[in-house]
């Protein structure tokens, strides 16, 4: 009764072995004399060349999880428990100096507002080449420039050569995002964490950037954790999806499994909002009744219970308010719900 067991035959998430293996990751922030857990005991793996969608509302902890992987949780927050196995090392306990070397080289973070992430007073060329230089790469101006040009071509930036001499504000939003991706890719990282990288862009550009990211995964074997609140995007480019709610992953599985047979009531609620009769899916997670909980006041038991339609339909069983649903994270598709299998085939 405690586990959801829906194995999807032939979809091993760890295709060529895991690039990233996260166990029991917990991020705490001190608040009013006690610690609140923005991310609470999260475990998952990312396979090589895989794109994993990390979906959730704004306070769900999805962005914090991304920052935790970069070890860039803003002080006074800390990674208080868990391991992050990556490239034979545990990022959770790596000394800061070594961590610095990995950032931008082995793992990169790309965020939403590309313009805000670029130094306004230096040219695109300087921004890209300083990443190479600061990671001990080569120092000849000519070959640095050549590498930067090549990288900009790979992210399909028009006029790559001329764009090098431009300043960030002189580029369009889509071009800025391409440059940001180029900066993240220049040293060939194994893992990219993309936090809403297309949200600020218009629809056509969004589609181009998504296609680009998919291509990069396929040709370079780079893995991507795609943090988003937009389920349509997940369906489009991700292999697997993890749904986050109140600091925890509540459902995880391949995109086809989760989208066709969502097991967790929260996922169902999300997906039903995605399928209105008219063509344009709103994809707003706010459609659920009630407010998403805040980290300093996570509900007891199953954290979704105050908003859970199934809980209410079942006559508000006590177990939901007292006991955390347990899951077996090694299953290819699981959901953290006591009654998941009651509903599992319900769609």
């Amino acid at each position: 009764m405690t586990k959801q067991q829906q194995r999807m035959p032939g979809s091993d998430p760890l295709r060529d072995g895991a690039v990233l293996d996260v166990r029991g990751l917990t991020v705490e922030f001190p608040a009013r004399g006690r610690n609140v857990r923005a991310v609470d005991n999260v475990s998952f793996t990312v396979g090589r060349g895989e794109i994993i969608g990390l979906v959730g509302e704004s306070a769900s902890g999805k962005s914090t999880l991304g920052l935790a992987l970069m070890r860039m949780i803003p002080a006074p927050g800390v990674v208080s428990a868990g391991t992050i196995a990556f490239g034979g090392r545990d990022l959770a306990s790596l000394p800061e100096a070594e961590m610095r070397e990995l950032r931008g080289k082995a793992l990169s973070l790309i965020v939403q507002d590309a313009l805000a992430t670029m130094n306004p007073v230096t040219t695109i060329e300087e921004q890209i080449t300083e990443v190479i230089r600061d990671h001990g790469g080569d120092r000849s101006r000519k070959s640095l420039r050549a590498r930067a040009t090549e990288m900009l071509r790979e992210v399909r930036l028009p006029n790559a050569e001329q764009s090098l001499n431009r300043y960030p504000h002189q580029l369009s939003g889509g071009m800025q995002q391409r440059v940001a991706i180029a900066e993240g890719l220049i040293l060939g990282p194994e893992l990219i964490i993309a936090d809403e990288p297309t949200t600020a862009l218009d629809v056509t550009v969004q589609a181009q950037i998504l296609a680009l990211l998919r291509d990069i995964c396929d040709t370079r074997g780079t893995s991507i954790i795609f943090v988003t609140h937009d389920l349509a995007t997940v369906a489009e480019i991700c292999d697997r999806v993890m749904v986050m709610y109140a600091g925890r992953i509540v459902e995880s599985g391949t995109v086809s499994a989760v989208f066709s047979k969502p097991a967790h009531p929260y996922t169902k609620a999300l997906l039903s909002g995605l399928l209105p009769l008219s063509g344009e899916p709103p994809a707003e997670l706010e459609a659920l009744p009630g407010q998403p909980p805040r980290p300093d006041a996570w509900p007891t038991g199953c954290r979704f219970h105050p908003r859970c339609p199934l809980w209410r339909a079942l006559g508000e069983p006590e177990i939901c308010t007292t006991t955390d649903p347990e899951v077996d994270e090694s299953d290819s598709h699981w959901a953290a719900c006591h009654f998941a299998d009651l509903e599992g085939a319900g769609r």
Binding site: V111, A116, V121
Partner: protein, 313 residues
């Protein structure tokens, strides 16, 4: 960039013209005759009339204004009310001393204010900040004549490292000239730098929270790169703006400091003119100072545009 510069200059010209009219009216149209004021109770009506005629003050105001302003356009500042001499050569004589003092003062201002503000901002809340921030507050509340007097007392009277004042042209003996510049310039530098330091501190604190600085760390850049290329380079821009704005304070402070250190600059000429009630001199000098102020600010603005590509558009 050139279009931008020309645009700015075109805006400045009417501004200066308006200022000249105001100045002129202030000196000429206010009640009380300058000549009578100058001669005091001893001036007989005949003497006053004679002097007025000599200096051309009996002509209609618009003629006098036109005379003055067309002279200015050709670099002629008019004649002194007192001595009847040309003002221009006197001013030109004083300009090297003034420029030297201005330049060295700005140098000290930046030398003290920029690193202090930057360190206090970068290590906000640390002991550096805890020392520098109250020190800046103290500096802000000290009048410049007081700082100058203190410097004279310590450096000249007590330690006897420097002379109490005076001036030697740079061309004559660079080392002695700079030695004499040191104290007045330091006084002005100490006077001006707290404001600069506070601006730089605030900017640096803001910058550290900017997303592009956070992202620089995400990219694994070295902390030296972040300090110099991300923080310092972006903090320089407001430094320039502040210096431009502070030029007014500097020129005002200079009037006092030049007096205190017996420094023969334009500032002291202005004081001399004011004491002798040489209205024509004061009127021309203020316009010269205002013009310098406007030109320097224009230069700062252009430099700003050059340093911050976002302004250039």
């Amino acid at each position: 960039m050139i279009r931008y510069a020309i645009n700015r200059i075109l805006i400045v010209i009417p501004l200066l013209l308006a200022l000249s009219v105001l100045l002129f009216l202030y000196v000429h149209a206010v009640p009380g005759d300058p000549i009578a004021g100058m001669l005091g109770p001893n001036g007989s009506p005949e003497l006053i009339a004679q002097l007025r005629a000599e200096r051309g003050l009996d002509r209609p105001l618009y003629v006098q204004y036109w005379d003055w302003i067309s002279g200015l356009a050709q670099g002629d500042l008019g004649i002194s009310l007192i001595s009847g001499q040309q003002i221009t050569p006197v001013v030109i004589n004083r300009i090297p001393a003034t420029f030297q003092l201005t330049f060295v003062s700005l140098f000290f201002t930046v030398l003290i204010g920029l690193p202090a503000g930057f360190l206090a901002g970068k290590y906000r809340g640390s002991w550096i900040d805890k020392i520098l921030s109250p020190a800046a507050l103290l500096g802000l509340s000290m009048p410049v004549f007081w700082i100058g007097t203190l410097l004279i007392l310590i450096l000249a009277v007590q330690l006897r490292w420097l002379p109490t004042g005076g001036y030697i042209p740079f061309a004559q003996s660079p080392v002695d000239s700079l030695r004499l510049t040191l104290m007045p310039a330091l006084a002005l530098g100490i006077h001006l730098s707290p404001f600069l330091a506070r601006m730089v501190r605030a900017t640096t604190i803001e910058l550290q929270q900017e997303q592009f600085v956070v992202q620089a760390r995400m990219k694994g850049l070295r902390s030296r790169t972040i300090t110099y290329r991300y923080l310092l380079r972006n903090a320089i821009v407001p430094v320039l703006v502040v210096l431009g704005l502070q030029l007014g304070t500097l020129l005002g402070g200079q009037v006092i400091v030049e007096q205190l250190f017996n420094w023969p600059g334009v500032g002291r000429l202005l004081v001399e003119g004011a004491i002798q009630r040489d209205y024509l001199m004061v009127q021309s000098l203020i316009l010269v100072v205002a013009t310098i102020y406007v030109i320097v600010n224009l230069g700062v603005e252009l430099l700003h545009a050059w340093l911050d590509p976002r302004v250039r558009l």
